[in-house]
Symmetry: C2
Subunit: 220 residues, 2 copies
Amino acid sequence: MASSTEENYLKSLFNLANEQGEVSISDLAQNLHVSMPTANSMVKNLQKQGWVGYEKYKPVILTQEGKKAAALVIRKHRLTEMFLVKKMGFGWEEVHEVAEQIEHIHAPKFFERMDEMLGFPTIDPHGSPIPDAQGRIQEFSYLPLSSCKVGQEVQLTALTNSSTEFLEFLNGRALRLGLNLKIHSREAYDQSMVVSYDDHPSETLSEKVCERLLVRVIGK
Amino acid sequence: MASSTEENYLKSLFNLANEQGEVSISDLAQNLHVSMPTANSMVKNLQKQGWVGYEKYKPVILTQEGKKAAALVIRKHRLTEMFLVKKMGFGWEEVHEVAEQIEHIHAPKFFERMDEMLGFPTIDPHGSPIPDAQGRIQEFSYLPLSSCKVGQEVQLTALTNSSTEFLEFLNGRALRLGLNLKIHSREAYDQSMVVSYDDHPSETLSEKVCERLLVRVIGK
DNA sequence: TTAGATACTTAGATTAATCTAACAAATTTG
DNA sequence: CAAATTTGTTAGATTAATCTAAGTATCTAA
């Protein structure tokens, strides 16, 4: 069974591979805030346990077992986030730190009961998919708001970044998942967009923000 | 801040002191399933951090800070047990292992929300008191059933042992906290007692069991 | 195409938590 | 009370996870 530390490495490898494709030792080290030699020796350890394939100076690749193990940790993390928000009254900006700890709890029934109580959710509070109990993960094909056109109506469905600062920024503008946005204009100079929703008749969102908002087109 | 390991030592010291008074290095080592040298060096470490007082060959004594730190870990443990039983549908025999892990989570709001959702409970599912947020613990004065007299009516209020095996034994006889028991007889030879409750007109309980059942006298 | 920069590895040290072996103090008991 | 037993301590080793320093491989770009 993986230690908490090993679980964190598996999770990082999984997430980095999804974001970037190939994952180098330095990517991994940076992501986990450890030195390269530390990441290097842990990768060798993970390899010995059959979770990753690795050859000197080559990218690190999760094996099938490694992917499954990683997905199951991510499952625990995202189920926990959903539970904290839906059942315990946490804000979506407060759940990450707690979930980072609870994801390492070994207690199948605990997470099964969360899953049941939540009605078997498929996404977490930030719109990321929750892997199933077999470690299978459903991929959605959402677009960044930044790639949408003026005049379109879209629904905010997920985020590519769930840092506390970004979530607090969204809270400040009453932006939440499920909201319908109308795209009124885009500024050619800096790619910022003006949108409206609910009782917000005109909000300007920077390119940086628009890239992090994932949407589904619903109109025009 | 105490590591999980340190928290476990503090908890053991607190519980052992309550059960036995003086706590030796060997008591501690036995209780935590570690060797005496391990317990010895951890006690020195806890002393350096101001949680225990210790002199060579003398009993280990928690300081005020040590007692408070221990009580706050026990608070997290017992709140978690109550949450698992009352909010997540666990049986009282299933909660210990999970609570042993969750008690080490550092997330004040998580436990505050549990407390609120449970209506600020004062006892856990096994009748043990839950320390308050300041680490103060309310002591009850319950009697073991074994010390009660034939003819008395008593209410089952707590247990002195909450091992899975004992709890499953109680489950098998539908014995649970809050139940009123009538004491019909006691066998002089082995101190076993015959009691009745609910639709159980006659159950024989061994001395070992009677010592572990804590009650409040309500009649005769 | 080779010099310089970047990425990676090796070597060796550190810390927390554990162990066993050996010795020392304290307690119990004949 | 002295011997035997129990309890506690010291010394030294181990493992997981981390680090820094130093050296090596790979990539990039003049």
